[in-house]
């Protein structure tokens, strides 16, 4: 049943389910057993989340039949180059070699300092030491600096989605340019693109945005489904975003761009972030709008689909592709 009144987010439920699954491996004390059953009965989604948590552990057991070492070795087909390097470092540490190897400084399991980046057209997911997840969009870079009391992230460039693990005592702070976004446990994106103001989009929970260098600018609290724009020399502005639009704005996680009545000029600009192949639009077509779901690093495919459906001409030249009105044939 979908329960629509005040409720926990699916992620919070998964988190709780994981906690229970982590404990139920041992025999629960009677009072805990009771609390567990109350929690299960409170919402059918709890049952589903707990079933999945147990399934994850069961999958671990199944894979473990191959021996613990098979799970400790670096995987045979890593997803990304830089992750592979990280995996190797961590893998060798686990094998009993020097722990403080190279740039990966592991003070304790919960302190962490590392950088992650993506190339143009690449998308990457990273699990941080506290269980928070970061999804990096194309051409983006973050520095992670975890201390005992703060989880600090510096967004150097690009865009990232943060799914923050809840921890009241250790705020999660993302800095982008002169703007700071502070969260406790929530899900939001921060975008820092050249010649554009910092943009923050909140998907779940609440975040607080402030500019430490501008003391007179008071902090702004941002609720779920709201976007904030922080231009360098104007106050932070906020506006609500429809839930549907939020999921469209996050289509990049799937390697997609979702457009709903977006002008061709705007669409071309968005594609430019994901590929070196540019799309140029003839001036008379710039305001023509398109709707649809496209592969973000395939600008040619997009241009071809637009050309076919709008009956336009598509030229391929050295720098990219160009869309214009079809020439009248003699």
């Amino acid at each position: 049943m979908m329960i629509m009144n005040t409720r926990h987010s699916p992620r919070e439920i998964d988190q709780r389910a994981a906690e229970w699954a982590a404990r139920c491996h041992d025999v629960l004390m009677p009072q805990d057993q009771c609390a567990f059953e109350v929690w299960l009965k409170a919402d059918p989604r709890h049952v589903g989340a707990y079933a999945k948590a147990e399934a994850v552990l069961a999958q671990l057991d199944r894979a473990g039949a191959a021996g613990a070492d098979a799970l400790r070795l670096p995987p045979p087909f890593p997803r990304q180059e830089s992750l592979k390097r990280r995996t190797m470092l961590v893998g060798s540490a686990a094998a009993g070699l020097a722990v403080a190897a190279g740039g990966a400084t592991w003070l304790t399991g919960l302190l962490q300092q590392e950088s992650y980046s993506t190339r143009i057209g690449e998308i990457k997911e990273v699990v941080l030491a506290d269980g928070s997840m970061v999804t990096l969009n194309t051409d983006s870079r973050i520095d992670v600096h975890y201390t005992k009391y703060r989880r600090k992230i510096h967004l150097i460039q690009g865009e990232a989605l943060f799914d923050v693990a809840k921890n009241q005592k250790r705020p999660f702070i993302v800095t982008a340019g002169d703007t700071q976004v502070r969260a406790v446990g929530t899900s939001f994106t921060v975008r820092l693109l050249p010649q554009q103001p910092v943009q923050v989009l909140v998907r779940e929970g609440v975040v607080e945005i402030k500019r430490p260098q501008v003391p007179q600018a008071s902090p702004v609290r941002l609720a779920a489904n709201t976007v904030a724009i922080a231009p360098p020399d104007a106050p932070i502005s906020t506006e609500p975003v429809a839930r549907l639009q939020v999921s469209r704005d996050l289509a990049w996680r799937e390697g997609r761009l979702a457009f709903d009545n977006v002008s061709l000029a705007d669409a071309a600009r968005q594609f430019a972030r994901y590929s070196a192949i540019g799309i140029s639009i003839s001036p008379d077509l710039e305001n023509q709008t398109v709707t649809g779901l496209f592969v973000s690093n395939d600008p040619v495919g997009f241009a071809r689909a637009v050309a076919i459906s709008l009956n336009l001409q598509l030229e391929v030249n050295s720098g990219g592709v160009r869309l214009s009105r079809e020439q009248v044939r003699r």
């Binding site: 987010s9 982590a22 041992d26 399934a55 069961a58 961590v90 398109v290 709707t291």
Partner: protein, 198 residues
Amino acid sequence: MGIDFQEKARWLARNVLPYESILRSRLRRMFLHGMEVDDIIQEMYARIVSQPALEAIRYPRQYAFQTATAIVIDHVRRSRVVSITAVGSLDQLEVAALDASPEQQLEFREDIAEVAQLLALLPERTREVLIMRRVEGLSQQETANKLSISEKTVEKHMAQGVAALMALFGRGGKSSSHPSKPKRADDDHEYKTLPSGD
């Protein structure tokens, strides 16, 4: 709650968990009004785990996809605003269920590789705790001693590890680790442009 979760978890791990990400991407593509994909997935697990006799289900993957379809239909019927897009795109889920041919059934070996791959994404300490506790079968206390951390911290790492794996199985999972599989190629047919305005 008379559900034996541990007993059913193996069935879910084998038959549902590896396909969750495919199902999610299908659902996400439907842009369902007023429904979160996360909610549908949790409810799907809830409905399946409440089934008394899982072993009797002959085509488990189809069953999972059909369960998700039923949840979407229930919701569309219950909500006043009937979303034509939702109803119209339901067959996308059916298609997904049909292509569950035997050759796409994952090999056990691939499952191991996937688990290893996802584990590699976790922080080292968390991964080590998961492996010691579940695979090597050490008790919480033994794990704590071996790693020189408190039992409370072991429990925390366990919970974090399970939560991270839950998210990873749902998001990355199968589809992104096997980009050459045919299910990727057929995606191309679904990118459509609809000229709007003029």
